[in-house]
């Protein structure tokens, strides 16, 4: 079965179309650049039909893990777009939370619901937007209900994910000051704020209980 529409048969028969397809496959696979139709035809045995072989090959790779794609005027194999994720390797790096972030998180956990202004008041320094964003992204904190005070400031509370990560049933399971002190994490001297209790509004009511003995 030769492919020759000329009246004069060629000196050498061109290979069968299936064989031409194999050749195109091998050439495109090994090529360091996409190959145009003309260049492809030049490399195939005389009398081959590069365009048809290419079209057969393109159809063969339809739906496969690699596709035959046209790049400008040239052709190349490329990873199927839906499998692009396989060509990415995610490396995960464990890093400790920054001091600002862990302190902010601790304040939210112990005092929730707590406003940003209150966090700043407690830490004594401004809380950067980035710190809050980071904790939000980690899904360890979320917005709580707004405070019923002038300006209706938003509050922050810890999330289920936070409790999961730290192995807590609820934020109330956080060790209280007494326990922190017993664990040697606090000075023996009672903290200056510990005796102020006349000012309990609903802001701190929840967490104050934690520290009552």
């Amino acid at each position: 079965m030769t492919i020759s529409d000329d009246d004069t048969p060629p000196l050498f028969d061109a290979p069968q179309l299936a064989e031409q397809e194999r050749m195109v496959e091998a050439i495109l696979f090994a090529s360091v650049d996409p190959i145009g139709l003309k260049a492809l035809a030049d490399r195939l045995p005389h009398g081959s039909d590069a365009a048809t072989a290419l079209e057969l090959l393109r159809r063969r790779y339809e739906g496969r893990g690699v596709h035959l794609v046209k790049v400008g005027e040239a052709w190349a194999f490329r990873t199927a777009p839906d499998l692009g994720f396989l060509m990415q390797r995610a490396t995960t790096e464990q890093r400790k939370l920054s001091r600002a972030a862990i302190e902010t998180l601790a304040i939210i956990a112990y005092h929730q619901p707590v406003t940003r202004a209150e966090i700043e008041e407690i830490r004594g320094v401004a809380v950067s937007r980035g710190t809050i964003d980071q904790l939000m992204e980690m899904a360890w904190i979320k917005l709580g209900r707004r405070r019923m005070t002038p300006g209706r400031p938003g509050t922050f509370v810890v999330t289920e994910a936070f409790l999961d990560h730290f192995g807590l049933e609820s934020a109330r399971d956080l060790p209280g000051l007494k326990e922190l002190r017993a664990a040697g994490l606090l000075d023996n001297r009672p903290p200056p704020g510990a005796e102020t209790d006349e000012d309990t509004d609903d802001t701190s009511a929840g967490q104050d209980e934690m520290f009552s003995e």
Binding site: A30, S31, P192
Partner: protein, 264 residues
């Protein structure tokens, strides 16, 4: 090239002798005595297993002799091999001496044949290996590899202990004030000073210090204490700078304050 020059016992046909001599030309082309022996053995035109080691020894010795006559420098290992082969030849020709231990001449000869066969086999294997399809010559790798892009993701971690430590750190800060309302009970001296500076201008006569306290600061003892202390400190400061005069009737009596004459 006088044939009668050498003393070796030759059992070679003239053709074999010629071939051995022809090999001389290539003396630098051999990779050692074993290579030369293999070339000589091939001239016997038999399977290497059936090669006559005695004949081979003679071929080799002829070769070495010819090289000597031609004043060709042979490397030491060629001469070592020659000495060994001369020894082997004599052993092969003479009946074994009684009581002789160690390997027999036949064993030595067999091993030499084995070495030659093994070298030949390795050469064949090398040729077959190189004749295989080779990468970059007969088959090819992907020309346009698609590299794996590495995306770094950072996962922040903290333990419960980190959390507790952080909280403990905050709680033990000296300036720590846990609740914002706490601040509301404190009247600072700076506040009092500013306030007294304004108020004192309107007070020409002695007046009780407590009457200067701001509204709302007498509601709780804490607030009253804080405001009183702040205002007391403030008037002391003002007295020191000569803006006011102070007087007190006795211990625990009311402290009175008055603007000093002549001050702005």
């Amino acid at each position: 090239m006088a044939d009668d020059d050498w003393t070796t016992d030759l059992r070679l046909s003239p053709a074999e002798r010629l071939e051995a001599e022809a090999l001389i030309v290539d003396v630098t082309g051999y990779e050692g005595p074993l290579d030369l022996l293999l070339a000589l053995a091939r001239t016997q035109k038999v399977d290497l297993r059936r090669v006559s080691v005695l004949q081979l020894a003679e071929q080799y010795l002829i070769f070495v002799e010819r090289a000597r006559l031609l004043r060709l420098e042979l490397a030491a290992d060629y001469l070592v091999m020659a000495a060994w082969l001369a020894y082997l030849k004599s052993r092969l020709l003479l009946p074994p001496e009684p009581g002789e231990d160690g390997p027999t001449a036949e064993e030595l000869a067999d091993h030499l044949a084995y070495q030659l066969e093994r070298l030949a086999a390795m050469r064949r294997a090398a040729a077959e290996l190189m004749a295989r399809d080779q990468k970059g010559r007969d088959f090819f790798v992907r020309g346009l590899p698609e590299g794996v892009s590495v995306t770094r993701r950072t996962v922040f971690d903290a333990t419960l202990l980190d959390l507790m430590r952080a909280y403990a750190r905050i709680r033990t800060k000296d300036e720590f004030r846990p609740f914002s309302l706490d601040r509301d009970s404190i009247y600072t001296m700076e506040q009092a000073l500013g306030r007294m500076r304004e108020l004192i201008g309107f007070s020409g006569d002695w007046a009780d210090l407590t009457s200067f306290l701001p509204k709302g600061w007498d509601t709780t003892p804490a607030r009253r204490r804080s405001a009183t202390a702040a205002h007391f400190a403030a008037v002391l400061e003002l007295a020191k700078s000569g803006h006011v005069a102070l007087r007190q009737g006795g211990l625990f009596e009311a402290i009175e304050v008055r603007r000093r004459e002549g001050t702005p």
